[in-house]
Symmetry: C2
Subunit: 208 residues, 2 copies
Amino acid sequence: MNLPKSLQNLINLFQQLPGIGPKTAARLVFYLWQTPDHYVEKFSQGLVDLKEKTKQCSTCYNLDDQNPCTVCSDSNRDQTQICVVERPLDIIALEKVGDYIGLYHVLGGVINPVDHIGPDELHIAPLLKRLKNGQFKELILATNPTMEGEATANYLARKIKELTANSSKLKVIKVTRLGQGLPTGADLDYADAWTLKQAWQNRRQVVN
Amino acid sequence: MNLPKSLQNLINLFQQLPGIGPKTAARLVFYLWQTPDHYVEKFSQGLVDLKEKTKQCSTCYNLDDQNPCTVCSDSNRDQTQICVVERPLDIIALEKVGDYIGLYHVLGGVINPVDHIGPDELHIAPLLKRLKNGQFKELILATNPTMEGEATANYLARKIKELTANSSKLKVIKVTRLGQGLPTGADLDYADAWTLKQAWQNRRQVVN
């Protein structure tokens, strides 16, 4: 016995999403079938709108309703700081903290030779171009603390050093990386050796 | 900073699906944004098709491309057995085993007072109507072995007993329930007390 085509087709599509296996896909589709028509219609329209209405900022590559995006077009933000992230979702996470009021640059991923993603597949050239105008005093490398994220951060740090060394009119940019150590609520017993090593190296004095 | 409307809207819709939280919803939507246009278009169309092309069988309430469904319209299947399940997905699971060649009846859920689902919200009346023509010799209660599934099975067993007692023309129907015990690959040490109790009661002789 085969599933009806309309169901099987949607199950196949759901299965292509990350983290959704065949069982979950089937559950979601059967669930959708019994939801009210207007919800499924909204869903269908939402997908069309996602592609049609979401714009990618041509300056920082963030996603927004407008281009240039809300951050890039906000003159109240600190125009001397730029934070480099992997994905637009990372911006949301950092904006939730609310401490940072500078600009962003989305790389669109990380250097990953296994997946054939080199520097040219990322928005690195536009980043270097942005740096050349000399407006930035600090660049924060906020790629994830994974092997690929570290490699990408190191690559960028090297490229920026080259850039500042070769250009006399370019001011010296302070390049920083997000601090590493134990996350809030962690248990030393469960922390991996690398995290513990970083936490140890980055220990800070609490009593003078 | 708010997310662009087109993204937030789709994230909200994804979040209404079972088992999908705000983080997963955001991840899925950002993933969808970067997939090729034709995939998202297919997805959008798939949702429309789900509602327009999937039909509910007016006899057994299974979902199919046609009404009556493939099972109900297949005269090669055993017309004397009927298996009562909660959801169309349960039929798929049983058909994969392939041992059963009788008919089905989908209840559309289980009796669950907490969610205000009584017998009238399920396809119980049409089931009793189907039984009245006297074609069935066995009815298999294949609701899940959960508290609600058991309660629904008990309710149906009682209803069928009333039906056969009051109708002289109706033959006696054998009502069965799926066997309970340890699932394949289980570990006695991890089995819950109730499963172990059932396995104990349903033990079978292996050497005569």
